[in-house]
């Protein structure tokens, strides 16, 4: 299609930055300088831009500039019926879409008051796919983190293993990343026949591979030297900044919403909450955060196994099972305000809903994203460090820009 005329005219004003620096270069002391990191930089995990004030090689101040991936999630949600928001929810944390959908569905079900009627099989399938997705997300976190600080091989190994998970989820939902599988009140479809067996094979396959990952990356001397005692996040600062997820647990607090809130089917499952213990350095350093993620993969595998046991035992597939049985035709919650939260791989994903009781469209749907809040702690913990350590800290926060910018 031909364009009608010139779409973009270059004017002097157009060359100014749309996100101006906080620090004025003219007012710096003579030994200081500003380095711009990102938004197109491989170690910033997407389109994160950091304005770094340096004194030689020492970081004095970091100012994150975000918003490069802003896709107006909240504005879209105010214009769509509840069930049609789910594909947008997928695109928040696009490497852990199942977990995001789970949180969103939980919230709308609570508003409708149907959260206790969901069939057990649906709940087990939800937790199964969510935990598989959690493993995939932690694989990315650990793999790309290793790559950030120079370990290239583990990245390929975890991407190879993540591929198995993505193929499983593609088999179930039809999509590799953005599933739209967990619906309000049910599921898009039952698991395909043979899924449980393949899952079991996957669990059997992945356990030795995790051991390899631990040997080559987590316990590697180089990795420990780069991450131990780097970016130490004290617990009181973490709580005051609202940090959640593996970052908070890495700082030594046993706080996991799957246990604390006990939503969905989690109270019936056995798993432990790994926390950072400062094994290689101080509690709450980059190594602790990575190790917590690594241990969480093991716990998620335990949950996956228990879910498969239930799905092939007590709650096995029957001919008359309809996962869409409870999916409401018309979603019109009573007028209320509701805040719901759930544990996704990065932390606490919260949704604030306001329903006006008169329409199928949320009056307000705010997403409290964990990457956004976790990223806001970066300026606090990166004062007086080396530039190379700043890269190590960014990677250990595990931000997904889709969720930061929404």
């Amino acid at each position: 299609m031909p364009t009608d005329g010139v779409q973009y005219k270059s004017r002097p004003g157009n060359l100014t930055s749309s996100a101006p620096n906080k620090f004025n270069p003219d007012k710096l002391r003579s030994e200081e300088m500003i380095i711009n990191l990102g938004p197109q930089h491989p170690s910033t995990h997407g389109v994160l831009r950091l304005e770094v004030l340096l004194d030689g090689e020492i970081v004095k101040e970091v100012v994150p500039h975000i918003g490069y991936l802003h896709r107006c999630f909240e504005k879209h949600a105010e214009n769509l019926p509840y069930n049609q928001v789910i594909p947008f929810v997928d695109r928040l944390d696009y490497v852990a879409s199942m977990n995001c959908e789970h949180a969103y569905a939980l919230g709308v079900e609570r508003m409708l008051g149907i959260q206790d009627q969901i069939p057990k099989r649906v709940e087990f399938i939800r937790v199964l796919v969510a935990e598989l997705n959690r493993i995939a997300s932690h694989f990315i976190a650990i793999g790309t983190y290793g790559m950030d600080i120079g370990a290239f091989t583990p990245f390929f190994w975890v991407m190879r293993d993540r591929e198995h998970i993505l193929r499983l989820l593609e088999w179930a939902s039809g999509a590799r990343l953005l599933y739209n599988y967990i619906w309000i009140g049910g599921l898009f479809y039952d698991l395909p026949v043979g899924f449980e067996e393949r899952c079991r094979e996957f669990v059997k396959y992945i356990r030795p591979k995790l051991q390899e990952l631990e040997t080559i990356l987590i316990e590697s001397k180089i990795f420990i030297e780069r991450t131990a005692n780097v970016g130490v996040l004290p617990l009181d600062l973490a709580i005051n900044c609202g940090v959640t997820g593996p970052m908070l647990r890495g700082s030594g607090l046993n706080f996991d919403l799957r246990k604390v809130d006990g939503y969905s089917i989690y109270p019936e499952l056995e798993f432990e909450i790994p926390i950072g213990e400062g094994k290689m350095g101080a509690v709450g350093d980059c190594w602790d955060r990575t190790y917590v993620r690594y241990l969480e993969i093991h716990q998620s595998l335990r949950i996956v196994e228990q879910c498969i046991d239930q799905l092939t035992g007590e709650h096995k597939r029957t001919r008359d099972f309809d996962p869409q049985e409870l999916v409401p035709k018309k979603i019109r919650p009573a007028a209320q305000d509701l805040y719901v939260r759930a544990e996704i791989p990065k932390g606490e994903l919260g949704f604030f809903f306001r329903a006006d009781g008169k329409s199928d469209i949320p009056f307000r749907c705010k997403c409290r994203s964990c990457s956004f809040v976790n990223l806001s702690v970066l300026p606090e913990i990166s004062k007086g460090i080396l530039v190379a350590d700043l890269i190590a800290i960014i990677g250990s926060i595990d931000v997904v820009m889709g969720e930061v910018d929404r």
Binding site: G242, K366, V373, S376
Partner: protein, 161 residues
């Protein structure tokens, strides 16, 4: 560990501008206070060892539309040791909305308040660094207001695609 009614009675005395009201249809239950009281009430909620709301989960801006003439801010607090949730709601006038910042109490509020300033144009007094956060600095208007209409051109690029 305190129930919602106990929390209400404990903060009642600190509200000097208007007596707090409650909204029990909200989940978690909501406390509705005057905007002038926000900092003193939040400080009590965070510092009192019986309440100890050490975590600010979320700050939400809400625009009730031009007909009602109000905006709202909802704070979602959580106490990790007591496992208690609380919502605080504050109504603001729609023209020139202003409220004191709570970022001195919880650092979480810093970015959340910047986001609300960006998308709703609510001004936070005493905020350390109130700039736009998600949108470009030279964007016009505040998109989550109900009467928002976007500008036609942004830097000579047509906004409506």
């Amino acid at each position: 560990m305190s129930t919602f009614d106990q929390i209400v009675s404990m903060v009642e005395d600190t509200c000097s501008h208007a007596a707090p009201t409650v909204d029990k249809s909200a989940s978690p239950h909501a406390l509705i206070i005057a905007k002038e009281d926000v900092v003193v009430v939040c400080r009590i909620l965070q510092e009192n060892p019986l309440l100890y709301f050490d975590m600010l989960s979320s700050v939400t801006g809400i625009d009730n539309g031009p007909e009602s003439g109000t905006m709202e801010i909802a704070y979602n607090l959580y106490s990790i040791p007591f496992d208690v949730h609380l919502m605080i709601k504050i109504a603001l006038p729609r023209d020139n909305p202003q409220i004191d910042s709570v970022s001195g109490i919880w650092k979480t509020a810093n970015w959340h308040e910047r986001e609300i300033f960006d998308l709703y144009g609510i001004h936070f007094v005493n905020h350390p660094d109130l700039r736009r956060i998600l949108l470009p600095a030279d964007w016009e208007g505040h998109p989550l207001r109900k009467d928002y209409s976007h500008q036609e051109y942004y830097r000579d690029i047509k906004v409506k695609y």
